[in-house]
Amino acid sequence: MRGAIFKIEKDFDKEIRNFLKKTIVKKFFGAILIPCKVPANDSYAYLLIRDEALIEKASILPPVMPIQGGRVLKSFTRLGKIDAKVAVIMRPCEIRASIELSKLEQVDLTNVTLISVDCPGVIPLSDYLEDPVKGTDTFKEAFKTWESDSVRELCKVCYNFTLTGSDLHIGILGSEQGNLFLIPVSEKGRNLLDFFNINYENDISSWENIVKKKEDERKIKRKEFRENLRQEIEGIDNLLKTFSDCLNCHNCMRVCPICYCRQCFFDSDALNLPSTNYIKRAENRGSIKFPPETLLFHLGRMSHMITSCVSCGSCEDACPVSLPISRVFSFVAENVQNLFNYVPGMSVKDPVPTITYEEEELKEFENPYIETYNIQRM
C-alpha cells in the first residue's frame, strides 16, 4: 500500500483541523460532518459545518461516541444527498455502519467522502459523563498506550480498529516523529489529495506492520474474550440470568445504527395482544414477566440485524442497566457473519446477507429426508 506522509508539528488533531479548514476555504468540500464539543463542554455531538471558523471546536478523535456516526449520517442523507460535497470524519466502526446503511438504502454516499482514523477505542459514555475532565485524561492515556482497560469492552477486543471501507484513511499508528499517514483508498480519496497536490506514493509499511501486529494481538484477546463470555452466557439459565435486569426499554435498539426501522416490529401493535392472552400465558407458566417478550425482543432483533452488527458497542452505552448487550450481540454476530463469510461495512459491493442468497449453500441447515423412515419405524 502507498500513502502520503503528513507532517505534524505538534498537535495532530489541530493540524488535521487546519487541513480540513483548507478544504472548505478552497471549496473542495461544501461542508464537514465531524464531532464537536457541546456548549457545556461535557460531551460531544456531530456538527455539519460550513463556516470554517467553527472547525476549531471539532475533534478528530473525541474520547466518547455519544451517537454512532452511522445514525448521524442516516439522519443527514436518508432523504437524499445535499448538493455540496461533504467530508465525514468518523471512527472505523462508524464508517462500517454507514456503509451497511448505504447498502440498506438508508444512507446516500454519493456526495460523501468518508474519512476514517485509527481508533484506540472510546471511553464508555457513563464513565465519561461522571467526570468529563477525567474522562478526557483517561482517553489520552488510552491513546498513548493503545491498550487501555478503560475503553469500552468491545473496543478492547476490536481488530477492525483501522482502515475499513472509507475513502481516505488517517493512519496514526507506526509513524515516526508523530507524523501521520494519509492513505487514499478510493477515487474520492485520491481526488482530495490530488487537489491539494499531496504526493501519496510514499512507502507506509511501518504503518502496515504495526497495524498487522496489533490486529493479531487483538485477535488473540478476542478469542479469550469469546471464551469467557461463552461461559458466562451460554445455555438457558445463564442467558436468562444475563438478561434478567433488562427493562425491555428497547433503548439498545434505538441507538443501534443498524436498527434503522422507524417503527420497530417489537414496538408495534403486532405484539399488543388481547388481555386474555397474557392471563392465559401467566396461567400456563405460573407467572409472566412484565413488560413481556424480553427474550423475544433480543433474539428477534438479532435475527433481523445481526448480519450487519458492526460491534460498535453503542447499545451497551445506552442501556440504563448496563447489561453486556453489545458483547452478546457481537459474540453472536461473529458466528453468524462467518456463515456467510461476511464482514459488515468492509465494502459497498458485497450485498447484505439477508437480502440475497446463493443456490448452493448452507446445505448443513437442511434436514435430509430418509426415504425409509416410516418403514424402519414399524
Binding site: A45, L47, L48, I49, S126, I279, S287, K289, F290
Partner: protein, 367 residues
C-alpha cells in the same frame, strides 16, 4: 373513620398473605406485582399462589412505570376476569391518565397501592443490589425520613397518597410497619375481598400527623431542588447547556407512561430534515447539529405530556446521558397543571384540560 383491615403480620408479610388468599379463593385470576427471584426484581403477572412467597409488593423499585404494562394488557380489550395489581400511587395516576386517552381500561382491575416512601433509581437494582439497601429503607420509613439516595422525583413528590385505589396499605407515615399490616378499604369490592380473608376488619381513625410531617419535608426538598437547579431561570441557553449531551435516543419518551404514541412525532418523517433543510441551515448559521432538534424534542415533549406528567421520574432513570430530566419535567408540568388546577390521575371523571375548554378562561393570553 374508615374501614380498615388488620393482618397479624408485618406489613410485607401481611400483604403477601392477603394476595395469596385472594388468589387461592378465586377472587382474582392473577396478581401483578414485583417478584424477587434469584435476587432479580421485576414486575410479574402471577397466577400460581405458590409464587406469592417470592413477591416483594412494597419494594422501593420501579423497573418501568407499571401503567405502561397495564395499558399494554388492556389496550385491545378490557380484562375479562379480575386481577389485582399492587403498584405505586404515581403508576395508578399515570394509568388513569392513559385510560382518559383511551389507552386502556380499568375494568376488572383491583387496585392496591400504599402510602409511598419513594423508590430508588433503577441502577440500584442492577444485580439485586437493592437487597442490600432494603433494611435501611424500612428503617427510614419507620423514622419518617427521606433517604437521600431515592430518585430525585420521589424525594420531592407530594402525591404519595394514592388516589383511585380499592385498598391503601399504610406504609409511609406509619411507625408500626414492623408489627402491623394495616390496609384501608376504600371500596365495597375491597370490603368483600377483605371479608374473604382472615384478617380483622375494624372501624379505624387514621392518624395523619406523620403523613403531614412527611409532606412538609418533601415540599421543602422540592423548593430546594428547583432553586438549586435554577430551573426557572434556565432560558434557551440553559436548556442548550443541559441538553447538549443528549444523544437523541428518546429513551425518556419511550419510558414515560404518558408518552403513549406508538410513533412519536419527533421520530416521524414529519420532523426529519430534508436535504434542502440542511442546506438552508448551513447557509443561515454556518453549521447544524446532526441529528437536529435536540432541544426542540425536549420542549415539544414537555408541551405534549406536561398536563399529565405524574412526576414518576422514569424518564430520568433510563437516560443514558444522565440528564436531570425529571426535575425539569416536574417543574415544567407543575406550572402547566397549576394553570388548570389539574392533578393528573386524581379524578377519572375529570376531562384532561387540553381536551376541553371554557369560553371565559385565560383572557390574559389574548392580546
Amino acid at each position: 373513620m374508615s374501614k380498615t383491615l388488620y393482618i397479624d403480620e408485618n406489613v410485607n408479610d401481611g400483604i403477601k398473605k392477603f394476595l395469596r388468599c385472594i388468589l387461592e379463593n378465586g377472587k382474582v385470576k392473577g396478581v401483578l406485582t414485583l417478584i424477587n427471584e434469584g435476587e432479580k426484581i421485576a414486575y410479574s403477572l402471577i397466577s400460581n399462589p405458590e409464587l406469592i412467597k417470592y413477591t416483594v409488593p412494597l419494594y422501593p423499585i420501579m423497573p418501568l412505570n407499571a401503567a405502561r404494562s397495564l395499558s399494554h394488557i388492556t389496550l385491545s380489550e378490557p380484562i375479562s376476569e379480575p386481577i389485582a395489581v399492587v403498584i405505586k400511587p404515581c403508576e395508578i395516576r399515570a394509568f388513569i391518565e392513559l385510560v382518559k386517552r383511551s389507552q386502556g381500561s380499568v375494568e376488572n382491575i383491583f387496585f392496591i397501592s400504599f402510602t409511598c416512601g419513594g423508590v430508588y433509581p433503577i441502577k440500584m437494582n442492577v444485580n439485586g443490589k437493592i437487597n442490600e439497601k432494603i433494611d435501611n429503607f424500612w428503617r427510614l420509613i419507620e423514622k419518617n425520613e427521606i433517604d437521600a439516595d431515592l430518585r430525585a422525583s420521589c424525594k420531592v413528590c407530594k402525591e404519595f397518597i394514592p388516589y383511585n385505589t380499592d385498598m391503601t396499605i399504610f406504609l409511609a407515615g406509619n411507625k408500626e410497619i414492623n408489627n402491623q399490616c394495616r390496609i384501608f378499604l376504600n371500596t365495597d369490592r375491597a370490603e368483600d375481598f377483605a371479608e374473604s380473608t382472615d384478617g380483622n376488619i375494624v372501624q379505624d381513625k387514621i392518624n395523619t400527623e406523620l403523613i403531614d410531617e412527611l409532606k412538609v419535608k418533601r415540599l421543602e426538598e422540592r423548593k430546594k431542588l428547583f432553586e438549586d437547579k435554577k430551573i426557572e431561570k434556565l432560558g434557551l441557553e440553559g436548556l442548550i447547556d443541559i441538553f447538549g449531551r443528549c444523544i437523541s435516543c428518546h429513551a425518556c419518551g419511550n419510558a414515560c407512561p404518558i408518552c403513549y404514541c406508538s410513533l412519536c412525532y419527533f421520530d416521524s418523517q414529519e420532523s426529519e430534515y430534508k436535504p434542502v433543510d440542511y442546506e438552508s441551515e448551513l447557509e443561515k448559521r454556518g453549521a447544524i447539529r446532526v441529528p437536529p432538534n435536540t432541544v426542540t424534542y425536549q420542549v415539544g415533549r414537555l408541551i405534549h405530556v406536561g398536563i399529565s406528567c405524574v412526576g414518576c421520574g422514569c424518564c430520568e432513570d433510563v437516560c443514558p446521558s444522565e440528564i436531570q430530566l425529571s426535575t425539569i419535567f416536574i417543574k415544567g408540568s407543575e406550572s402547566i397543571q397549576e394553570k388548570f388546577n389539574y392533578i393528573p390521575g386524581k379524578n377519572p371523571e375529570e376531562l384532561i384540560p387540553i381536551s376541553t375548554f371554557d369560553i371565559k378562561e385565560f383572557p390574559e393570553v389574548e392580546t
